[in-house]
Amino acid sequence: MGYVAVSGGEQAIAASLELLERERVAGGRALDPALIIEAMPHAVEQVQSEGSVWAPEVAAIALKQASGSIEEAVFLVRAYRSTLERLYTSRVIDTGEMHVSRHISAAFKDIEGGQILGATRDYSHRLINFDLSEETDADVRAARAVIDERLDEAAEAFYGVAETTPLDCVPKVCDYLRQIGMIRPVAIDDTEPVDITKTPLFTPAPRSVILQALSRGLTQAVVAIGYAAIRGFGISHPTVGELRRGSVPVTIDAPGTDPSQASADDAYYLGALPVCEVESLIANDEVTETGEHVNALDVGYGLVTGSDESKAIAMSVLDHSLRVDDVRYPTQDQEFVLYHIDGVEATGFISHLKLPHYVTFQSKLDAALRSMNHAEGQKEDGSRAAQL
């Protein structure tokens, strides 16, 4: 068989894309993006979290177009993001004002506002529910009605009205620890945060850079590196002081107002953003001015859009481990973690290895041959170069 050089790439690509599209429509049924949002909210959330855009409809279309590949959907959303003008900066969001749907602490049994389990899979048994294979829309609606009725009854018993009210302004666990002086005090830092989508990464990275890079990092990479940090390749072993999940209001100042003068009352409300926030407590050795060792608590902070609690906890671990001065492990090394945690970059560079490397490989061969010939003391005829 003769060698077919890579040419006619245009037809090959068109044909390949057609095949791909054939695979997407192979089942003969269309999937409504609205259904993806309803039935697969966590997939949609992950695409938005790593895509660093909050736009459920766009994420759902991306998932549909990507035939369910999160990696591909994130990629689509990120590329779309590049085309959007950044018009406003929101007012500072205070997560203390979160509408809480879940609120737990692993540090204290009794916390102000109470331990609120909310909806969690933590204590579910991971048994595949085979009944779901035959579930109908009617079944879904019936199940919803039953649960809603129970919720209404519970609310009526508790509040006297048959509706649940969101829990606002639940006190923060760490505030209590701060009050009693258990947490190492940190000076308020109101420097303008760096936007890592508009500024190239640099190290030592300010906190805002660390937090952004982790928050939009590849979920599984954040979790895996965070795991390494607590298992042995790091010093941070945290206690989850508080994990809260819910939605926070996003507002902007009226265009044209001086930010220093603008009041929250005049701000425009854009919508609510679902987030998951973790404050981890990590005991840390500190040497005082007089040379004494003091064991005080530091806070590692995690905040991700959506509800991925593992990512938020791992982020809090890495936020802390990336801020130590004495770097002993890769998990503490800002360059190691921050340069490699972005999913679009990691998968992009890994996948580029599939591109043709004919020219560069020929050059590599040439260099290898020269050294081989040198080693064999051969010249011209009989050399490997001549054989090739």
Partner: protein
């Protein structure tokens, strides 16, 4: 849900920002200017740096050529060319002579470029010192202090170990006696084309978020020693099995007629033009 994209995909603010980085790069030849690289609709590592440079510089009157490892028909070249065409509507060509803007992965065309032509090279690893220093914070300092002992030491170690330097493509160059620069992985064969060129070379590394430049008539020397001069890939005695060319960069192939190993021009446009002119047997 209908969405239309801006001319050349990126929003104007992003393009301006990238052009500012380019201007700085031109002002400091060989210096890697960090820029806030955007995510593009093609893979990060598949030419997004070159693409952002191209999209930021391209105008409606430009004529675009895109090559990948020398070939206009290579799949990635086709993909990038059609993306730029779809988002700008500019004319495209395979002819090196007709192009006003050439984006390339890992080759500089055989036909010398002219003053009016802009050459954009895609760069996977812009940092020439990365092979011996993993940390960006350290390599930045080394560049600032022009501390390039390591770069020479690396070549020296290769000579000691293997009798010759073993760099393949991406053999480092010294730009205007100041910055050591990765010429992007163009083969060593192409390195001399950067020196005292008529045209402007722009290098874009999307994933690594760097832009750098070699302006026209800049001195570019491949790193070497007096007793171990820089050597290009050796194609002595080889000729292209299609057009008969010698003295150009070639890759190994199988002769479609004889089924034997043969050599072929890597620059497909150069090869095709020679064929059109009736080939030759120099």
């Amino acid at each position: 849900m209908q969405r239309n994209y801006n001319f050349a995909f990126l929003d104007e603010g992003s393009k301006r920002e990238i052009r500012r980085a380019i201007l700085k790069a031109v002002a400091i030849p060989g210096y890697q200017v960090p820029f806030a690289s955007r995510e593009m609709p093609i893979g990060r590592g598949w030419g997004t740096g070159g693409l952002q440079v191209t999209l930021s510089c391209i105008g409606p009157d430009d004529v675009l050529k895109v090559i990948d490892q020398g070939s206009d028909a290579s799949v990635n070249a086709v993909s990038i060319r059609s993306l730029v065409h779809e988002t700008t509507g500019v004319e495209t060509t395979t002819s090196t002579a007709d192009a006003t803007l050439i984006q390339s992965r890992h080759r500089i065309p055989e036909r010398p470029l002219q003053r009016e032509q802009l050459m954009v090279l895609q760069v996977p690893m812009p940092e020439p010192l990365r092979t011996y220093e993993a940390r960006e914070s350290v390599t930045r300092r080394l560049h600032a202090e022009a501390e390039y002992t390591g770069a020479y030491l690396e070549l020296f170690e290769q000579i000691v170990r293997y009798g010759s330097t073993t760099t393949g493509a991406d053999h480092p160059v010294m730009v205007q006696d100041r910055y050591v620069m990765a010429p992007s992985p163009i083969p060593r064969f192409d390195n001399p084309k950067l020196n005292d060129a008529e045209n402007l070379f722009l290098f874009g590394a999307g994933r690594e978020k760097k832009i750098y430049a070699v302006p026209p008539h800049t001195k570019v020397e491949s790193l070497a020693f007096e007793d171990h001069p820089f050597v290009r890939e050796d194609f002595e005695g080889k000729r292209c099995c299609i057009c008969g060319a010698t003295g150009v960069y070639m890759t190994q192939t199988i002769d479609p007629v004889t089924g034997k190993k043969a050599w072929q021009c890597s620059d497909t446009d150069y090869c095709a033009e020679r064929l059109e002119e009736g080939g030759s047997d120099e």
